[in-house]
Structures are given as structure tokens and as C-alpha cells.
């Protein structure tokens, strides 16, 4: 029965190859979706936490984890844990650098709790300095709060005029 820490570590290592299908430079661990690995009976239980409720990539991620471990001859059961809710602040520091290099501005750290202190706020949001991943200028503007996937907003750099994605704080 696989139960030692070393074996669990080996499973974590194995799952490093499973990436977010929409952001292929990040592993599920780096993006904060892969939460825990437990030995269960003859195999492993893998706990993942979805990013957005309706994110169509979630089913793909589950399948990818399953396939990865199957190929290594391991039994795996993937379970979804909703609470505590996924937060963009779970994205690791090295992953934030990778996002930037990939052309996606990483999220600002969440400082407020959703639905609490913003609840009466309808004024224009404080201007976040989102740095352009192409040229490094911080003279950028939000063109749309909703972008190509649930987790991203669309921005435009006013210096180099290139459009880019911003990973929304969540």
C-alpha cells in the first residue's frame, strides 16, 4: 500500500506534467487547482478545487489527472473540493513569472473579500497598475472586464498599443 511520504512526493512530481489546458505554461499545482494527495486503499485520492464554477476546462483537468496516473499504473480517484474557494492568490510566485513571460499579466493580490467591502461600491474602481507583459509599461487600460476565458480580463497597453490578457484577482 502506497502510504509513505516519498510515494506521495512522487505522485506530486508526476502531476507536475499536468497543465492547465487554457494556460499550458502552468501546472495544476502552480495555478492552485491541485490541492492535496492522499493514499486511499490501493491508490490515491487527488483533491482539486475548481477555479470558476462554469469553467469548461475543469472536466479536462480531471481527465488529465486521471490519465496521467493511469499511465503510471496508479489507481486514482479525483475529487472536487469547493471550500475553501479557489483564489487567484493561490497562484505561486514562480507561476506568476511564467504567466508574465507567456504574455498574461498576473493577478494583483486580493486584498478584499468578495461581497463584503465592495458591496456598496459603484464608483470607478481604483486604477490598478497592470503592467504590460509585452513592453513593461504600466500605462494600460481595461478594454473589457470579461475576456477569452472566465479568469481573464482584456487590457490594452497605451504605450505599445498591444492588447493583452490580465488574469483577474478572484
Amino acid at each position: 500500500m502506497p502510504s509513505t511520504e516519498d510515494e506521495a512526493y512522487a505522485v506530486w512530481q508526476m502531476l507536475e506534467s499536468v497543465c492547465d489546458p487554457e494556460i499550458p505554461v502552468l501546472s495544476l499545482r502552480e495555478i492552485g487547482v491541485l490541492r492535496a494527495i492522499y493514499p486511499v486503499g490501493q491508490g490515491w485520492q487527488i483533491v482539486i478545487t475548481p477555479t470558476y464554477n462554469g469553467c469548461p476546462a475543469m472536466a479536462q483537468m480531471q481527465d488529465d489527472v486521471q490519465i496521467c496516473l493511469q499511465q503510471a499504473g496508479l489507481q486514482a480517484q479525483v475529487i472536487t473540493r469547493l471550500s475553501p474557494a479557489w483564489s487567484s492568490s493561490w497562484i505561486t510566485d514562480e507561476a506568476r513569472d511564467k504567466l508574465l513571460a507567456y504574455g498574461i499579466a498576473p493577478p494583483h493580490h486580493q486584498t478584499n473579500v468578495a461581497g463584503q467591502d465592495r458591496i456598496r461600491l459603484v464608483q470607478k474602481k481604483a486604477v490598478l497598475h497592470v503592467v504590460c507583459p509585452q513592453c513593461g509599461a504600466d500605462d494600460t487600460t481595461e478594454t473589457s472586464h470579461f475576456g477569452s476565458t472566465a479568469c481573464k480580463a482584456m487590457y490594452k497597453c497605451l504605450a505599445c498599443l498591444e492588447p493583452f490578457d490580465y488574469f483577474k484577482p478572484y
Binding site: 462554469g54 469553467c55 471550500s83 474557494a85 483577474k168
Partner: protein, 255 residues
């Protein structure tokens, strides 16, 4: 247990029906960015609906399934608020316009997401831990929906004469439907308890944004709709036909 699962079903139906309605903008948005915004919004709502239907199935423990709940129930079994099934325009027959009015879309999202922010905030602490977990996830999404809708409400109200007029008309048209939010029924009594505080908080939130938009806060008086009891408007069956016909024509279809 029955009342709890009825209430969760009501939440699921609200999310699914508004998600389906707003998805009508997909490919028809007034500008590309809004097309994407509404599609994202619907994706969130349908994601919430799925979790909630799965939870209903679990609570009922009678072999219910999320797909059967969404596709194989008829309108009298749906417990969503009537406001969420209305088409995207204020005009009623005989001058019914076929095109969609974005002001109605925005005002509805504004009124409903303000309400859901308060409901989810309360449900985050519910004794049913699965419901509490769904709430703690959904509140983050609804927060974005509320931001989006209130930003546009202010832009419309504070914009051109036409955008001001249209958003004011949408408010007049939709406000009476919000009475249903405060109409206590056994499911809401069990889960939310007394609705007076919620109502006062909601009114404060909504009034803030409406006055900032330079719009009048209209009266909410008039006929009180009863969609949450399964009594729907004439628009509901068309929406369901559109949404359910494929699943019913090809049961068990997969691709």
C-alpha cells in the same frame, strides 16, 4: 429535507434560467466586449446551476440527476423568479418589439446580482456545508456580475438622453418584479429566515447606484409574480422549449 431541496432547486432554477436568457446575447452583443461579458456571465450562472442541481439530487437521494432536472421538467416545476425569464425588452403587446434592449439586460442583472450577493453572503454560513461551499464560490462570481451591471447602469443613466430614458424605462418595468424577492415562502423561511434585513440592505445597495446614475428609483408596487411557486409568465414555455428541445428530441445524446 424537502424544503431545503426545494430552496436549493429554486436557486438552481434562478441561475439556469437567467443564464439561458442572457446567453441569447451570444453572437448578438451590442459590442464585442459585452458579447463576451454576457457569455461569461452565463457560463458562471450555468456552472452555479450545475452544482446546485447536483446538490438537489444528493439531498433528494431518489435518483434525480442534474440533466433531468434541467431538461425534463416542465414549466410548473421550475421555481425561478418570474423576472429572470422575461425577454430582453420592456415593450409589451401590442407594440411588442422583437429586438432586445440592452438596458433591460443590465437593469435585470443589476437588481438580481445585488440580491444574490446578499443571499450568497448569508448562505456562506449555512449549516448545510455543501450549500455553504457553493455560496462561498458563487459570491466571487456574482461580485463581478454586480460590478459589471452597476458600472453600465451608471454609464447609461449618466450617458445620452436615449440611454438615460431606456435605463429609466427598464427600471420602471422591472422594479415591480423584485417584490417577488421579498415574498416569503416555506423554502425561503427555512433557509433565509426573516427577509426584512435583506430587503433593507438590498434597497440601500440598489438606491446608491441608481442615484449615482442620476435615475429615479421607481415604485415597486403592482402585481406580485409567483414564479418561485411554479406560476410563470407566458415567456417561460418558449424559453424552455428553446433550451430543452434538443435533449428531449435526442435523449441521452452525447458528443
Amino acid at each position: 429535507m424537502n424544503l431545503l431541496s426545494d430552496y436549493v432547486l429554486h436557486l438552481a432554477d434562478n441561475a439556469l434560467i437567467l443564464g439561458q436568457r442572457n446567453a441569447e446575447w451570444c453572437g448578438h452583443g451590442p459590442i464585442l466586449e459585452e458579447d463576451l461579458a454576457l457569455a461569461n456571465n452565463s457560463l458562471d450562472l450555468i456552472g452555479q446551476a450545475r452544482l446546485l442541481y447536483q446538490h438537489v439530487a444528493q439531498l433528494r437521494n431518489d435518483g434525480s440527476h442534474e440533466d433531468a432536472l434541467a431538461y425534463f421538467r416542465d414549466q410548473q416545476d421550475f421555481l425561478n423568479f418570474t423576472m429572470l425569464e422575461l425577454p430582453h425588452n420592456t415593450a409589451l403587446a401590442p407594440s411588442a418589439k422583437t429586438e432586445r434592449d440592452y438596458a433591460v439586460t443590465i437593469v435585470r442583472n443589476f437588481l438580481f446580482s445585488a440580491y444574490m450577493l446578499l443571499v450568497w453572503r448569508k448562505l456562506q454560513h449555512h449549516a448545510d456545508t455543501q450549500l455553504a461551499a457553493i455560496a462561498s464560490k458563487s459570491i466571487k462570481e456574482v461580485d463581478y456580475h454586480f460590478q459589471h451591471a452597476s458600472d453600465w447602469l451608471v454609464r447609461f443613466g449618466d450617458g445620452t438622453d436615449e440611454s438615460h430614458l431606456k435605463s429609466q424605462m427598464a427600471l420602471h418595468f422591472l422594479m415591480p418584479y423584485t417584490q417577488e424577492f421579498w415574498n416569503s415562502w416555506p423554502g425561503s423561511e427555512l433557509v433565509l429566515g426573516d427577509l426584512h434585513h435583506l430587503h433593507a440592505d438590498w434597497t440601500a445597495m440598489v438606491t446608491d447606484a441608481v442615484s449615482q446614475a442620476g435615475l429615479q428609483f421607481p415604485s415597486a408596487e403592482g402585481y406580485v409574480t409567483q414564479g418561485h411557486l411554479g406560476v410563470h409568465s407566458e415567456h417561460m414555455s418558449y424559453l424552455l422549449a428553446d433550451m430543452q428541445s434538443l435533449a428531449r428530441q435526442f435523449p441521452g445524446a452525447a458528443w
